[in-house]
Amino acid sequence: MSRLVNGPGRFVTPSVMIQFSAVSKLYPGGHEALQGLSFAIERGEMVFLTGHSGAGKSTLLKLIAHIERASSGQVVVNERNLARLHRRQIPHYRRSLGMIFQDYRLLAERTVFDNIALPLIIGGYDEREIGRRVRAALDKVGLLSKEKYYPVELSGGEQQRVGIARAVVHKPALLLADEPTGNLDPDLSREIMSLFQAFNRVGVTVLIATHDVGLIASLPYRVLTLHNGRLSSGEGGAS
């Protein structure tokens, strides 16, 4: 879609959102969670990441979010080489991402509304803008009536949707989702997936780690398959 804009002399062409080059991740203790991964994800692409439990899906997402660091190789996201990211640049970098966690990571002491507003408060948006955007996000995940609830008062699936709303409320360029449908029934899963597709249609790059092979098979997107820390399919460019 934006391949027209390849400028001269760029280290990474701007049409690429995520570029892994021979990336390995060795956890302290010696477990090699990822081994020599190389792949690229185009800007505006939607990609599934799958593989058995312990294959390294979460690890891969953590490398992109700069939660973990690559032991060797190079991770470039949105034209930033993460190895060269200074400590003080990390917050700004993370604000360009939307993350959905396997374990939701909501703040128990804050209401649904306040949880979803967090990225906007952190980003320094003004109050009116915050109210408008949070309600829009709540509407998209179908929780408009629960804005005053606390996370404990919600079902697992509802909490997951709050996490999704929080991840997209600041309109990130890149959405990373770790098992976003893990706690949802098939109908809701499909609904959430169509939500991701809608984000993708307006240009957001989406990377979803999931076990849900049935769901993946029903959708026309590229699939990266990890097996014991190695890619076994999907490393090519966009299909």
Binding site: Y93, R105, G203
Partner: protein, 338 residues
């Protein structure tokens, strides 16, 4: 949506979300950005007060310890200031120079010298003790036989007891007055009964130094108490801090509520300290007045003055904020997402 996104991809260093944020920011003038910045601070300020209120017992303990730790030196310093005022009065009342006159000076000449000395600016009063009065005094204290017949003649010189004015009562001033008296031809020697005064001054200086050292130690204790309270809060909010960092909060953003919490502890602790010092002084004021009445003195215990009260409050806030700052700087870096 699309055209804007494409424009975004043209800019080499723009991360994806920044244009979105930049667009919103661009709409706003500088003054509204300042307003938003201030509102962030104000939110953190009142928010941290709310959190303190939500853990009332722990907060109360911290505040009480700060209050007591600061009330101790506050009380001692106020009492010391009172004591210095009182002893300054004593110096004038109790410092005396004994001027021993030449043996051959007549009583009339001594009386004339008395009148002359009384006219000196630095002299409050002069009392003349003739050799005869001196011997009579001697005899009265020691009792016994007729000392004059025993000794043959009166060995005592005439003595002028000079008392300096209050302004001249400080040890160095008294010394220079003694020098001046010693230079007079009629004077044999001058004795300054000042040792006790110098001792008193030395003791007071020692007490003052001690109080300041105590104040320093207690200030350190306050730093540690606040630091420890904030450290516990940080630990209990570990998950929240990690989530904030994951969502891209800067260190300043994460840190702010904890620094303000430290300042709040300081403010409340300072108020408690001022209240405690006032209560202690009030409790002491009656016995002090009774004691003073017994000595026919009009000494009253002074209140906590504004300067000390303001100093206590300011010190408490600085210590609270400082204690939080030290702890947060050390611990926040260790709380990272994993």
């Amino acid at each position: 949506m699309m055209p804007r996104r494409r424009a975004v991809t043209h800019r080499p260093h723009a991360p994806g979300a920044a244009p979105e944020a930049a667009r919103v920011r661009r709409k706003n003038s500088g003054s509204s950005r300042l307003r938003r910045y201030l509102s962030l601070h104000i939110q953190a300020w009142w928010g941290s007060l709310g959190r303190i209120a939500r853990a009332p017992l722990a907060s109360f303990m911290t505040i009480a310890v700060i209050g007591i730790a600061l009330a101790l030196p506050g009380t001692f310093l106020t009492l010391l200031a009172n004591m210095q005022k009182i002893t300054a009065g004593w110096e004038g009342n109790m410092t005396e120079l004994s001027v021993f006159l030449s043996k051959d000076l007549s009583n009339d000449a001594a009386a004339a010298l008395t009148t002359e000395l009384e006219s000196w600016a630095e002299v409050e009063s002069v009392r003349h003790i003739t050799p005869e009065q001196g011997l009579a005094e001697f005899q009265r204290t020691l009792g016994g036989d007729d000392w004059l017949t025993l000794l043959g003649s009166n060995p005592l010189p005439g003595v002028l007891v000079v008392r300096p004015t209050v302004e001249q009562a400080a040890p160095e001033r008294v010394q220079s007055l003694a020098e001046r008296l010693r230079d007079l031809p009629e004077v044999e020697s001058v004795q300054v009964d000042m040792e006790w005064l110098q001792r008193l001054h030395a003791i007071m200086a020692l007490i003052e130094r001690g109080v300041w050292i105590l104040a320093g130690l207690l200030a350190l204790a306050v730093l540690l108490i606040v630091g420890n309270t904030i450290r516990l809060t940080l630990e209990s909010r570990r998950d929240e801090i990690i989530v904030l960092k994951l969502l891209g909060a800067t260190d300043a953003f994460v840190r702010r509520p904890y620094l303000y919490a430290g300042a709040w502890y300081g403010i409340f602790g300072g108020v408690v300290a001022v209240a405690l010092v006032s209560a202690v002084l009030w409790g002491l004021s009656k016995p002090v007045a009774q004691l003073a009445a017994l000595y026919h003195s009009d000494i009253v215990l002074g209140w906590l003055d504004w300067v000390t009260a303001a100093g206590l409050l300011l010190g408490a806030v600085v210590l609270g904020y400082g204690g939080a700052r030290l702890t947060v700087a050390r611990h926040l870096r260790r709380i990272e997402p994993d």
